[in-house]
Amino acid sequence: MVTENLLRKNSDSARWALIIFIVSCGFVACKKESANVAMPILSNLEVGTNNNKIAYPGHDFHLEASIVASGSLASIKLQITPVLSGRGWSYTKIYTTGYAGLKNTTFHEHLDVPADAVVGDYDVLLLVTDQLGNKSEVTGRFKVVNDPTLPSITGLQLTLNPNGDALKLTGVINAPGRIAKLDVRVQSTAWTKVFSFTDADMVGYTTHNLNRSIDLSDAPKGHYHIHFTLSDQVGKQIGYEYHFDKN
């Protein structure tokens, strides 16, 4: 009888332990679904070349920011609006390609500023949404200015040779402040190289017929971004962004 009671007691204890275990599992499972994930973090917003916070009508405009999203990125919304109500350049785009699903990344995009963009002050907003719907934003301000003395490259053409081991660059450089340097940054996810041109036939001149080839023999196949930064001798810079595929 005593043994029977003991066995029944042990059996009851085991049953209660099982109940507590199952209930705990249930709550843990619930907790997992509603676990708090940190909000996405945006930092190091760069607006314009070298963060100069200036955009020029008809030219390329650089934007960059660091993003950490422990909940994995869903999208990045970019919004540009004039500070003052009225006529002005407005731009919105939601980026997903190349960003969705990542936890840590650098937002790096180049926009074409419309040639008729109204000069003045503008707000830029980056809104990051993670896959749980958490949102964070960062804002900045920049100016659209007209500068007739800005250096420029017109008719810029890129021609990849049939082997894909050299890229020919042609165009006309104009620099009222006299040419100082042309940097060409060629970048893919696997390979990056910067080619700097400071040849005597271009430095110090206000006009130059660009005709150079850059060596891509050690660049692997892939999709490349190519970014030109033209600097003059009074410190003005302009950038151009192009793309090509090496097959």
Binding site: C25, S34, Q79, G86, R87, S90
Partner: protein, 227 residues
């Protein structure tokens, strides 16, 4: 025996309760919350003499910024959304605009008012969701075009959008329409604006209909049904 049955019931009840706590979160698909920035306003503006129905769109951006898009320049302003109204104001005195809409609990616009500087216009407006994909791609529309008033100009005008949804063409003979003729700016995936010199054509798509306004020296307008 009775005791064992009671214990079994208690055991089952506890397990069901613990699982129900989870189930509560998963009861069917959650209703999508209304996010105003996932929408835009599209409608028409008509002067007092009924000479034309011009098309406009208002993009509703983050931080209560709004962009008013019409056949002229785009204007940026601010909007205020309450449970029963949407008010958009371009406060620049040289380009003052105000658009007021009544909005119901289904987030539909039930009335529209528009004033540019001191001139009031008859207005219509719809709050359209911004679709994830291009709604114009590959679609053809047909309908009656009007010119500078209520008299029909072209009985059966056809608009044909290319499969890429980046170009379109129009004409009265569907066989000869080149849908690559005009490269347009896609607005919020269901509206378009085409500019060529001083000529502007723009329209929006909703409920299988395309509402178009064209400024080409004179004003042309119409509503076209999807074919």
């Amino acid at each position: 025996m009775k005791n064992t049955f009671a214990k079994s019931m208690l055991f089952t009840a506890i397990i069901m309760t613990s699982l129900a706590a989870c189930k509560k979160d998963n009861t069917g698909p959650a209703e999508k919350p209304f996010v105003v920035t996932d929408h835009y306003v599209a409608g028409t503006i008509t002067p007092a003499n009924n000479a034309y129905n011009s098309v406009y769109m208002i993009s509703l951006l983050e931080n209560n910024k709004a962009v008013f898009i019409s056949s002229g320049n785009n204007f940026t302003g601010d909007y205020t959304l309450t449970k029963d109204s949407l008010i958009v104001i371009i406060s620049d005195p040289a380009n003052y605009r105000v658009a007021k809409f009544a909005i119901n609990e289904k987030h539909e616009l039930t009335s529209a008012y528009y004033r540019a500087l001191t001139t009031e216009y008859k207005a219509t407006g719809k709050l359209l969701e911004i679709e994830a994909t291009n709604q114009l791609a590959g679609k053809t529309f047909k309908g009656e075009e009007f010119k500078m008033g209520p008299v029909s100009f072209k009985k059966d005008l056809v608009y044909k959008f290319s499969s890429t949804g980046t170009t379109y063409g129009s004409g009265t003979d569907p066989q000869t329409i080149n849908d690559q003729s005009n490269a347009f700016e896609l607005i919020n995936n269901s509206a378009f604006k085409f500019k060529s010199g001083s000529n502007v054509e723009m329209g929006f798509y909703t409920n299988n209909q395309l509402t178009v306004f064209r400024l080409s020296g004179l004003y042309y307008f119409g509503t076209y049904t999807q074919q």
